[in-house]
């Protein structure tokens, strides 16, 4: 037997991950039957999450191993028979999906570590299994090179996240699934329209096949895909599920808050600039620009007015969708420079890392101090410096402050917007960034003075601190070593994102 091909490994990993999680679910209740003390039970509870973290680490390793060949332009593809004449089980690890696989596995790893140390975690085997299954489905969705397979895995991933959040907050989980499922139905509608008009459901040749389609039909396809993916990236007006999940879901809110935006942004890039020529989609640019500006400002203002850290995290997550949509809208301008789409691609990776720091810090603070209400957290900077650092640099990165990755993204966007004479979106972006900066700094200022009596902290697991430390480290690394990411974005533009560009998106 010869060595395993990378494409076979991808498929095996995708298939094994959910089943591995399910196996944990099946095994751990039986193992816990032999546990007789609370201390033993506490130690045993971490098992499923650490196994989940190990599986995520393996996925991370796989993504990193695929990265050089994917960025080098040789995408790894796996094509299997699913239906004879209709649609296909087709995966493609290219310059867009390989880094997204790394992001999804890395973020999943952080969530697993966080849940391993969470004191209120009940039903650990179910949580670990559902989280792993969601990771596997969403990773498969980003790696898919078939429109129907994308919709299949997206809806399956949403179902897994719904069951996961349902363990803590049934009402919020139903709200999340309702909004995201309506969105996925719209994406399915757009995908079917593309399939019927182009005659093929595979994403790669669509640009060529869609050249003969009339502009009104193209516009419908683009709008359906864009509107359908708004709930995933938590964009206005489909962002209501996120603050509700943050309010009621507590420990599990960070799973959909981190995993769904990465998936949504990857799919938007794959389906819009990746398969359709943005400049040929009438109306899409205006819609995306308007929604982007509204989302950015809505998130920025709400984060300024909020009184709790979890709402701050939720509204910062909403705000991060704004620059991405503005970039997508500006790229629909035929004169748009390539930097704009590069900025959108970088935002899809940089924003979730920054938000991971904010969400993990927020949850850790809540675990340690029993509250996340900002007025009650005076003196936090001294008592929890690591969590405060996570909040600070995560928030400042979302606001586009140097030297964090968000700054490099905003620099690309701003130069692109100015070069294409889109002054209004540029002003909106700068203004909202200022508001977000004020919101983050003001939150930390309110936590600076020492409280009387001093803030009392409970014992918390080192896993919580480890997850925050890893998120901070990832953000710092991305800040310092931004050059490889910038090189990647150029390669992604030449490969996965320039299929429909026809020279339009060739890097200058």
């Amino acid at each position: 037997m010869g060595p395993l091909r990378p494409d076979t490994i991808i498929l095996i990993w995708l298939l094994v991950l959910p089943f591995f999680g399910a196996l944990c679910a099946a095994l751990f209740p039986r193992l816990s039957l032999g546990v007789h003390s609370e201390r033993e039970a506490e130690a045993m509870r971490r098992g499923p999450f650490l196994l989940g973290a190990l599986a995520s680490l393996m996925g991370l390793g796989l993504g990193i191993s695929l990265f050089p060949s994917a960025v080098g332009g040789s995408a790894v593809t796996a094509d299997y028979w699913w239906t004879k004449d209709l649609y296909h089980l087709r995966f493609q690890a290219d310059a867009l999906s390989a880094p997204v696989l790394v992001a999804l596995c890395g973020l999943g790893l952080l969530v697993h570590l966080h849940l391993a140390g969470h004191p209120l975690t009940s039903q650990p085997h179910h949580r670990a299994a559902l989280l792993l299954a969601a990771q596997g489905c969403l990773a498969g969705c980003c790696l898919s090179a078939d429109l129907i397979l994308i919709c299949f895995l997206l809806q399956l991933g949403l179902l897994c996240l719904w069951r996961l959040v349902h363990l803590d907050a049934p009402g919020a989980a139903n709200s999340m699934l309702s909004v995201t499922f309506v969105g996925s139905a719209a994406v399915l509608g757009g995908a079917l329209l593309i399939w019927v008009r182009a005659g093929d459901s595979s994403t790669a040749p669509l640009a060529m096949l869609l050249t003969a389609v009339e502009p009104s039909a193209l516009a419908w396809m683009g709008i359906l895909v864009l509107v359908g993916l708004l709930p995933l990236i938590a964009s206005f007006p489909a962002n209501g599920w996120l603050p509700r999940v943050a309010e009621e879901g507590f420990s599990l809110a960070l799973a959909p808050a981190l995993l769904l935006p990465v998936t949504g942004m990857c799919l938007l890039l794959r389906l819009l600039p990746g398969t359709m020529t943005l400049a040929l989609l009438p109306g899409l640019g205006v819609v995306a620009l308007t929604l982007g500006a509204a989302t950015l400002w809505w998130g920025a203002i709400r984060s300024l007015l909020t009184g709790s850290l979890r709402h701050l995290a939720a509204w910062l997550t909403v705000a991060q969708a704004g620059p991405f949509l503005i970039a997508l809208g500006a790229a629909a301008n035929a004169n748009a420079p390539s930097g704009i789409v590069r900025g959108a691609a970088l935002q899809a990776l940089a924003a979730p890392v920054a938000l991971a720091a904010v969400w993990l810090a927020t949850n850790t603070i809540r675990c340690r101090f029993g509250t996340d209400s900002i007025p009650e957290l005076a003196g936090l900077l001294k008592r929890a410096p690591l969590a405060s650092l996570g909040l600070l640099i995560g928030g400042l990165s979302v606001a586009g402050i140097p030297p964090f990755p968000g700054f490099h993204v905003q620099r690309l966007l701003m130069s692109g917007l100015l070069a294409s004479h889109s002054y209004l979106p540029a002003v909106a972006l700068l203004g909202a960034d200022a508001v977000i900066t004020i919101a983050v700094l003001d939150t930390l200022r309110r936590m600076l003075p020492e409280a009387r009596p001093p803030l009392s902290a409970r014992w918390s697991s080192p896993w919580l601190s480890a997850s925050v430390a890893l998120a901070v480290l990832a953000l710092m690394l991305a800040s310092v070593a931004f050059a490889p990411l910038a090189t990647w974005s150029e390669q992604a533009l030449r490969g996965a994102l320039s299929i429909s560009g026809g020279g339009l998106f060739t890097p200058r």
């Binding site: 239906t83 209709l86 179902l159 499922f181 139905a185 079917l192 019927v196």
Partner: protein, 206 residues
């Protein structure tokens, strides 16, 4: 293949309106159940509306996938109805044995009815929507998609109540086989499509 006659087109149009109306009406009724299990029953009827829609599309566009879609959707609805019937037809009892299986089977039945992955219902719905688009009925396809999304409302309220019965013995075995069939059809849609084509050929329809 020749284009359908004016009469066929008219019949197809009427059937599509009836199918969409049936799916919409049944989904609305399912959202307000009067008795346990009634919501599920109405959703089975809504699923039948999609069969009618696919048949209408097959009449309007004979070269499309309408017949195939109708056959797979009918199969999915029958599977879901059988699964639901096995779970909901059981009387309440105090023991917990078999309740977990009944809850899993009922969840699978709802997923099939709603057209959600990983069950065969997903592919059935995809083919129904595709056949509607092939017939040029974009509005009807949009309504069908919207009604499908609205099906979550009765599903949430029914699933929050849990499963009233328990599955044991022969019923449990039948339920597991049917659930596996729905799952295999979802994970390997080629199997569902081939079976539908075989049945249509055996009936002499295709």
């Amino acid at each position: 293949m020749s284009a359908p006659s004016a009469l066929t087109s008219a019949v197809a149009m009427i059937a599509s309106v009836l199918g969409a109306a049936l799916a919409l009406y049944a989904t609305i009724r399912a959202a307000r159940p009067q008795a346990p299990g009634q919501g599920f029953g109405w959703m089975v009827i809504a699923g039948s509306g999609y069969v009618l829609l696919a048949l209408a599309a097959a009449l309007a566009a004979p070269q499309g996938d309408g017949l195939q879609a109708a056959a797979i959707q009918a199969g999915a609805v029958l599977l879901a109805a059988a699964l639901g019937g096995l779970c909901l037809g059981q009387s309440k009892d105090g023991s917990s044995s078999g309740k977990a299986l009944a809850a899993v089977v009922l969840f699978g039945a709802w997923l099939t009815l709603l057209g959600l992955p990983p069950m065969v219902g997903f592919h059935a719905r995809v083919l129904v929507y595709r056949s509607l688009l092939q017939a040029g009925w974009h509005g009807t396809a949009a309504v069908a998609l919207a009604v499908s999304a609205a099906g979550l409302v009765p599903a949430f309220s029914a699933l929050s109540l849990g499963c009233p019965g328990a599955l044991r013995g022969g019923r449990a075995a039948i339920a597991v086989i049917l659930l596996l069939a729905a799952l295999v059809g979802g994970m390997y849609p080629g199997f569902a499509v081939s079976t539908a084509n075989y049945l249509l050929a055996a009936l002499g329809v295709r």
